[in-house]
Subunit: 152 residues, 2 copies
């Protein structure tokens, strides 16, 4: 039971940018900080720009910055955007008819209720909560400069 | 975010056997009822026997039956046995050190809390709850004979 690697990396990008504040960051910086491939990260960032979760600007002071949407939305709402498949079991997905007892099996309701409980927790937090007191996070991500307000 | 196919099929086998009661069932019967491969199901059943969740007997009245353990345990406890990886994000797994900010990132705590909420729901139910009023379930699984008490 895992999120897709795409969602996992998407959160790392947004966390970096939340901790970086107005300074923002570039793909090479973020890739170096997490020691992951630039290519993979580029695809993830592209999708985050498309979703309005991060902003990309060109030029001398260009780079990536957290978008207003990522500051406003909860972790749960962000996850609903980055992760497309929440069907813990097949019958919660798009093709429930593939299991012969779908619709008549109590597991469907129980797993649905469990997923709801999971999101109720994720909906209580924002990226600002995740990076609050982010001094150590900024050290680990090798960021220089003054610490900006969390999540801005 | 999905359970492994192994867990998904494991629950289908146990559901079948919970609905079948003392009559139990065989791999060919269960495979035919769900229209899935016998080979795949055989591996799943083998693992369930190993975990003590189902019993396998040989001979004329032989076959598979739900084990006492599967009747006593909650859906959450059963899932903890069949699913080995609950690391929604990498840092909740066995190799947290692979992310440079693991241990200093608020997401780890938040996803941990969300997973706990998910299991709190799953821990409230048993297979008996899932198959209660299982007449329709028995029809769909093409079971004959008298309806046994749910989950027994």
């Amino acid at each position: 039971m895992r999120l897709t690697l795409h969602s996992d990396l998407a959160f790392r990008v947004m966390l970096f940018l939340a901790a970086a504040g107005e300074n923002g960051g570039t793909i090479p910086q973020i890739a170096a900080a997490y020691r992951i491939s630039e290519d993979h990260l580029r695809k993830v960032a592209h999708e985050l720009v498309r979703l309005g979760l991060i902003d990309s600007t060109r030029g001398r002071s260009g780079g990536l910055r957290l978008g207003p949407r990522a500051r406003e939305l909860s972790i749960g709402a962000i996850l609903r955007l980055t992760e497309t498949d929440f069907a813990l079991v097949e019958c919660l997905g798009n093709q429930p008819e593939r299991c012969v007892i779908a619709g008549h099996c109590g597991l469907q309701r129980i797993f649905g209720e469990a997923l709801k409980a999971l999101f109720e927790v994720l909906d209580r937090y924002t990226l600002a909560d995740v990076v609050s007191g982010s001094g150590k996070l900024r050290d680990l991500l090798e960021m220089d400069g003054p610490i900006p307000p969390a999540g801005e």
